[in-house]
Symmetry: C2
Subunit: 442 residues, 2 copies
């Protein structure tokens, strides 16, 4: 009997494939060929079926689908810890926007994106969604490091270092979309910043273009009660109703935050098929409010998970974000069974894939999907005893135990060492930026 | 000029002494002699003043006072991840109490306590408060490992493996108190489990004895709204009012949880000088409610921080708990300036010391206090850039970066290696317990 020659065989003590749901496989093997998962089989069978060019034995580990960070601003990692303990508007208007005005440039975005990608890989993320200036630099950083990403080029009414007005933002973004049209790992979408920073005309144009290109849209929406109240006072419309009137809500749309969501908002999300990206740590840190995750899920709305930028978190640790999401959802819903361990892992994997329109490609360890895989070591005092691998991932701090990460079958992290990034050089670049920012006193 | 001979000199890049408040010292040295801090001076001056028998150079680290975990059930670390996603009453009555009935013994408490202590040391804790059966075994584990602790012997109306009835619990506890009367590191107090598990007579006896011995009392109080509503329906009294009538509220009293705290409850805590021990992760995980930390602090109530047992957390990481406490308090108070980074560190240090009645001895890096010291490495990609050391501790996952821990000037953790515990042997013991518990199917 001849064995199939494959690129890579990973055997692991525990595997949680996410699909099928609520499943923990023991002593399982993943067969990978040409960047795709081609088999999920018992280890004993794997030896009979495959002859692997490379075999990785992870006998004290948990394998999961690579995590999907569904909202962030990667380059802002250079502002991590720069301004803490301020509410959203003060934080933006008095600290972050002035600092961005002074510092944001192609080089800043290149180095900041690389820093964020490095931290994300080291904590098990294989795909990130990002909205920031100079997205072409973030795209390059993702290409260079092997990370998968979906980038939303920013659109604002006012000028920035990247563009002059809404049409300029959109035109630059369309050019970028065109550049990456056939790229397998990088997709480009529309990133209107928020209802209060983009006016009706560009929003209408975005709705038409996104539908035409079948490109995703990501927008900060209902981040605070104040945002909603201000809009109602000014126009009589809740922001989500205005977006709906402008034709902007569809399964292509990802609504980030939604801490303020009444029953009619939830109904609207449900009927239009728009997704919610939940960023619990950022919402808490900026005292923005509590997203009603259980109510949204009960209404059939897809909820994915994001860290937001490191300036309002202050880390990009999606395993930690899972824990916060689960604990907070239990507290807010007053129900300890809300977001159980498996549902919490789904938030950061398959739900993210759905939000990004890529559930046919990523988000679970299934045959035919991309080999985007994360391994977490359980060889530690803190993981002893281990009654339930899913519970360990959801409820214990374990991101520093992430040992291996692959995207498209290519290794990005091996025994905690970055494989596509020069960590020392990156740390030096980040320190140089920090020194310049500190010295300038802004 | 002759230099003073001392036991230990620790030099560090950053030092946050907690007192004085809001202070970050750069290139500072701590002089330690006979277990006490005798100097906090600039490094340049330290070399002139001291001749140290041992010098530890931590030039890429932050020094803080050893953390104080003000509420837990150490031995329950053997039940970590054993029963998740259940509300408090189901979790207790259908899972934890039956498992305890079957497994809790002196050996279980000895091994479970050692496991908890090891995890706490590795995450920067130097003192823990504990309430569990067979407290004499937890005391021995603390003595053997060099940890400081305050143990509250349990008191319940119903029998357990440790005692038969309330008087039996109290008598056994008093004997333990007597044994440790002159111990510098271990103090013994009263641990009436909760208002709903201890009747009036024993509570009155505890109030008299605690006052007489000047011994601390720790009690689970107002953990859920249901607890309060049930008590009011039955007796017409809120539990805290009943405790007050029984003479149980004073500066010796530590009220754990207090998620349900109306204005009159807060007023009562404030006037009696009782302390609140906040356990945010356990409260979230069991969907128990939100402790109003800001309102309590604004009313002058001392709030300390605890992880609770690992079965409802599921880790004993007090740095992580700080982060959850700060983020949650901002969200609950709708004010992003609530529990800023320095105030958050105070929660887990000096406020804990006050709650335990030991603020003259621990909780800050001040001359005359015990040399209970924790060092956290900042030599990592995740700590780059570092605009603000306090913010890094409060808002980034960093417990796995704890490098050194001392209590009374004695080293318990060195370069992340436990110095007073055989880690491998401990892991094997814990795994053996887990196998037995799993095999029994309970």
């Amino acid at each position: 009997m001849s064995r199939q020659i494959i690129d890579l065989l990973i055997t692991a003590r525990w595997t949680i494939p996410v699909i099928p749901e609520n499943t923990v496989l023991e002593d399982c093997a993943l067969a990978v060929n040409q960047g795709k998962i081609i088999g999920v089989v018992p280890q004993s069978e794997a030896e009979k079926r495959y002859q692997a060019k490379e075999q990785v034995v992870l006998d004290n580990h948990i394998l999961i689908p690579g995590l999907i960070n569904a909202h962030g601003h990667a380059a802002m990692s250079l502002f991590k810890g720069y301004a803490d303990d301020y509410p959203l508007q003060t934080w933006l208007e008095e600290h972050i926007w002035p600092a961005e005005g002074k510092w944001v440039s192609p080089e800043f975005v290149q180095d900041g994106s690389e820093l964020a990608i490095a931290e994300m890989i080291r904590s098990g993320t294989t795909c990130f969604a990002d909205m920031y200036f100079f997205p072409e630099e973030t795209a390059k950083a993702a290409l260079n490091t092997g990370m998968r990403c979906q980038l939303y080029f920013p659109i604002l009414d006012f000028p920035s270092a990247w563009a002059q007005d809404a049409n300029d933002y959109i035109n630059k973004g369309l050019a970028l979309h065109d550049n990456y049209r056939s790229n397998e790992s990088i997709t480009i979408g529309f990133g209107p910043h928020a209802p209060y920073t983009v006016s009706d005309e560009p929003l209408k144009r975005i709705a038409v273009l996104a539908e035409e290109l079948q490109a995703p849209i990501q927008i900060h929406l209902h981040e605070t009660t104040k945002e909603v109240n201000d809009a109602v006072a000014e126009s009589g419309l809740r922001p989500i109703d205005r977006l709906n009137q402008l034709g902007l809500l569809s399964p292509l749309t990802q609504c980030v935050h939604m801490t303020e969501a009444n029953n009619s908002d939830i109904e609207l999300l449900s009927t239009t098929g728009a997704h919610v990206i939940h960023c619990p740590e950022s919402n808490l840190k900026l005292a923005s409010g509590f997203c009603p995750v259980k109510k949204l899920q009960d209404a059939g709305v897809n909820v994915a998970l994001g860290t937001d930028g490191a300036a309002s978190n202050n880390d990009l640790d999606l395993l930690g974000e899972m824990r916060t999401a689960s604990l907070l959802a239990k507290g807010v819903s007053q129900d300890a069974s809300t977001l159980n361990a498996h549902q919490t892992l789904a938030l950061a994997t398959i739900n993210g894939a759905k939000a990004l329109g890529q559930e046919d490609k990523i988000g679970s360890l299934e045959i035919g999907k991309a080999a985007d895989i994360t391994a977490i070591s359980i060889d530690s005092l803190e993981a002893t005893p281990l009654f339930n691998p899913a519970s360990y991932l959801a409820y214990s701090q374990c991101s520093h135990q992430v040992s291996h990460v692959w995207t498209n079958g290519k290794i990005l992290l091996k025994d905690r060492q970055l494989q596509t990034i020069d960590e020392q050089a990156l740390r030096e670049k980040a320190q140089t930026w920090a020194k310049r920012i500190k010295a300038s006193g802004t």
